[in-house]
Subunit: 450 residues, 2 copies
Amino acid sequence: MEELSRTYLETLKEEIATQQDNRLQVRFAELHPADIAETLNRLDEEEVQYLWKLIDIETRGDVLIELEEDVRESLLAQLTNHEIATEVLEQIDSDDAADVVSELPEDRAQQVIEQLDNADREDLLTLLRYPEGTAGALMGTELIRVELDWTVSHAIREMRRQAEDVDTVHSVYVVNAAGQLIGRLSLKRLLLTATSTRSTIGDLFKEDDTRAVKVDEPDVTVVQLMKKYDLVALPVVDDHNRLLGRITVDDVLDLMEEEAEKDYQLASGLSDDVESDDALWDMTRARLPWLLIGLFGGLAGAYVIGAFDIARFPSMALFIPLIAAMGGNVGVQSAAIVVQGLAAGRSPRDARLVPRLLKELSVALLNGTICAVVILGASTALGYSWNLSLTVSLALIVVIIFAALFGTFVPLTLDRFKIDPALATGPFITTANDIIGLIIYFEIGVLMAA
Amino acid sequence: MEELSRTYLETLKEEIATQQDNRLQVRFAELHPADIAETLNRLDEEEVQYLWKLIDIETRGDVLIELEEDVRESLLAQLTNHEIATEVLEQIDSDDAADVVSELPEDRAQQVIEQLDNADREDLLTLLRYPEGTAGALMGTELIRVELDWTVSHAIREMRRQAEDVDTVHSVYVVNAAGQLIGRLSLKRLLLTATSTRSTIGDLFKEDDTRAVKVDEPDVTVVQLMKKYDLVALPVVDDHNRLLGRITVDDVLDLMEEEAEKDYQLASGLSDDVESDDALWDMTRARLPWLLIGLFGGLAGAYVIGAFDIARFPSMALFIPLIAAMGGNVGVQSAAIVVQGLAAGRSPRDARLVPRLLKELSVALLNGTICAVVILGASTALGYSWNLSLTVSLALIVVIIFAALFGTFVPLTLDRFKIDPALATGPFITTANDIIGLIIYFEIGVLMAA
């Protein structure tokens, strides 16, 4: 579907206002759930509620999970517990159901879960127990499993039965009698290998791909495995290698995007996921934290400059912006390299700190020297005094080295204490480096003047 | 495979030095191509060349495409044209083959292509013709197609034949006699639907999913479609809806990651994809451009401050860092929201500029007012003069509003001229806002003093 045009939305609003239910039902019957959701996201709360009842009952759940969070929240608030259980949760994959339930207020979640049939309730309660950020929290239980010693024809009968609950069959998992994962059987091999009536799954199956993830492993491991091995689904097992569920690539795609957006937002000083059509106050609030940190950093800067007698050396004021900006820039660059390396799994968490700081030191020395030479040449050429130019050059080398080491050290240390290292690319490093840069500049200025 | 341990690499290097070929062959026979590549990435050029010959010939191509670019380049330089053609290109998917060939020097690429057999050469030349950044450049030609009026048993025979060239069967595409895409048939339906010997594909198939992308559409459209509809493969068609190839989700994952990294790097002032184990000079060079821009921005700042008679109002120097930092921060925040919206396809490219700037203006007014009140209170409380405090407050509102509008306007304009809008989150906006912020501050300072 193309971008939602203004005229399309106006027609729709008109049809809702005039209650042309048949026409609306026909419209929606032709659309993919993701397209219906995209439409609902652009309508008012009352319009969404009105249209909800006109969506095919088997599609409602898939539409709901594609809605934007605030639209979904206001819609869920209007549905009865029974409706949420039967129209939504029982119709969608268990991993999506767990996501929907965890967005509900706690007592409401309890009531909704009680409305589910036994099997779904059991599944959901198990999934909800896995902490956020683990493979278990990403996994769904819908999968097709066959046993190693089944005949192919028995397996196909079983698969037909199981497949009713499974939307997309990514893989058929082969387990032994104890439920332990032995491997994966591609539908391709099952379909395209000529078999006799007495062939078993074991005959067809080569034990070539038993890649799986433990249920309590972190979700970054899931992302890394799926990317590295180009998987579309990854089985999840317990400590005894028993098959518990599977994670599909579309969830990993969403996760990757969220992580990338979060890092990007932190690096750009936004404290929340904002979009340009969010409410005025949401947009303002997402930007305020960095601005306030910046303000207090600025006040600290004013204190530093005030402590130094600027009236005695007013020409030193000229290069304040240069020194402050360079400290911030270098710090963010160094921190970003660390954060990106950690996110991509390229920087092993056990890498030793000292060699990395030494390397960073060399890079900073090189960059600092180049910048210092450039500024020394440029500022003397522009007619600034030799003393001032030399002060700025020396300060610049020291600031660049300090900022690079600080920018490397902070995210690595945050990561060691299991705090999101991307925080280090945000306001803290920039502001800290600005101020420390100024102190270095004025200290050197005083020394040079002495 | 777990992270490559130091001892593992040392054992390997020892085995290479003592030419224990059998042992090395056994090691590699058990590994996934991605794991072999990960190992080779950590070895010296000569070691890589030595090991290459010990890798199973059918696996070599898959290993090569997983190598880091510089390792691949140096390995390709050592292989003959015939080896590249037969051991690499003919063994891997056509989309990967096209990627490898486009990395070769032009005359070398020509020579390698001549070594290919006719069918592969034809395929490759067609793929190479699609410009980078389009669906065609992402697509591979390996797919399974069946015709609408084939019987199921004929289709399965045909699929067995076609499947020899296709590693992973994502979907079976259904075409009419003219080769036009009619839809997709899931292996699940084919395998799990009971059929009579006279059933045709048309009987099995419901025309429910004909989502495809045109070969010349931009790759961002591909990413958006696959994400939105949770697809693992997307068929590619020409203007007459004839099926040309397919794009798989793993390529989209790679593309998403590259785009996110690029935006992140620009926002953090890195001009190139650097990792902490890159060479010293590469790391230095990736950071220099922003630093140099920052330097010249700093010199411009010095000029602005010098043009204003700082010695007459030395206390104005105190708040230089605050004003400069806030202009840069606000500009980057505004630009980042625009860039992220464009990247996620949330901001339609035809959205009107004026309403967005008006909204940004409101957000900036609100943020600016809050910041101005905070700073007015804080700086008078800290004992700075009322006149100075008021100057800083007023300047801050103006700077925040200007920076927000500038930060919104620049990326949108870059995008309109088809320049990567993420450039606007980098050094340019920050530096420009720093300087303009200083000018605003001093102009207001002069007015207040008058």
